[in-house]
Symmetry: D2
Subunit: 142 residues, 4 copies
């Protein structure tokens, strides 16, 4: 997956504190936990647009992950506060792509970056075109 | 929760290899992971009786956890093989209790023990009496 | 484990948003995740006393969990905001006990409660008496 | 990341049973859990070569993940048995890349595929050239 040169707007910033349970025997944030944290940032992004993802699902649209990717640049440790940025980088007919950056509290050092591609499906799991209301919603400024 | 003096039969033994993702910065199996592993042993116990828990749910009976408990005696580390025993210690009208032991590969050292109490509910989440077929099923020898 | 009638002070309240990754196929917060959330609340409690747990460890004192317990009263779902309270209920010579409550945002409904007992050990894992500075620290008002 | 046309040999196959704790509210294996399962398959691959990863670390070589990637093709559900294949696709001076496939029990349907790139570092976290013994070890037939 490729990462955009300029981070897309609108964006959302999640503050996350690394817990003990997220670390591993190397003493650092375990690599799978980044995808959990990306999901938290994605949830915040959607909520800040004006409607939580739970409501998106209640309207009959699900966004299962079709692809995920993460580049680990600098490890995080227990009790570190990390800042996670999320935005949408690409819309397709029946899918969309989020990108993520994790930074230190001063937001001047990149710790990790990643992306997730989501299909747009109905409750039966069938691909559907991204509805206009969803596109409009996710494009809103906070 | 109290632990029985003699481990109840029938029982099931799960072999589990500690993964890196299950360890924490202390270098040991993280305390919440024991509940995941208990769940795996419980699933094996049920499957060995002759019907997986997925089928129990398909028949309309769910067994949500109402209480869980674990005593950590000796830590496990990455790549350790641990042996997890599971059995049912108590039946009530609308609930049942499982107990668990975790041992080393020689099964002569107790690493942890625990218990979980489960309500018996229908798909709407309402408590129902334990059905006879479930009681008969879970009491079967392997 | 028994739960105190009056919640001990000082206490700390953690706000936690249930993520998708914390839910299970029943659609609710998975039972092992409560122990992760208790750990987050415990970490906040310690930080609010004036020194993070990372620094406690850096001073040579580790507090591994010896026993954990949780009673699940009412399930939480994706995107729910839950309020987690943490305090210390008991001091022993070489151990201490935390208790936890999880409530709804109005804090008028109890969703879960639990407890963890921690040994006090040095870097070699040997039990040591709770140091005076730790007892003083953890007893401080925020 | 690109995926090879022919799966590299030697390889290892891990059998994995999807637990309840690995599923999410969509009723499927949560996307971050794939990285845990890849790690289990990688650990098996290394163990089958003749020396567990714990021993590799004890010899002073750590292999932290620098990049991870997964493509989700078909969801897995509670109690599904999945077969996870792991092999090494690329060696660089100070890094190596693993690839993974997840298949159904008949191994005729691809459920997911992925890859991880690992730096080769010493205990101080400094990049070091891949030692000959490691390269020889990981290339061994089972």
């Amino acid at each position: 997956m490729d990462f955009p040169k300029v981070f897309p707007l609108p964006d959302a910033w999640l503050l996350h504190r690394v817990s003990y349970g997220e670390t591993d025997a190397m003493g650092v944030l375990y690599y799978a936990e980044y995808l959990h944290i990306f999901e938290r940032a994605r949830g915040l992004f959607i909520r800040q647009r004006g409607m939580g993802y739970a409501k998106v699902e209640a309207r009959g649209i699900l966004l299962p992950v079709r692809e995920a990717w993460c580049r680990y640049r600098s490890p995080s440790r227990y009790d570190d506060e990390i800042h996670v940025r999320c935005g949408i980088v690409e819309w397709n007919r029946a899918s969309l792509r989020f990108v993520y950056e994790i930074k230190n509290p001063d937001r001047d050092r990149l710790l990790a970056q990643g992306g997730t591609e989501h299909a747009c499906v109905n409750r039966q799991g069938r691909p559907v075109g991204v509805p206009d209301w969803l596109k409009e919603l996710f494009g809103r400024q906070a």
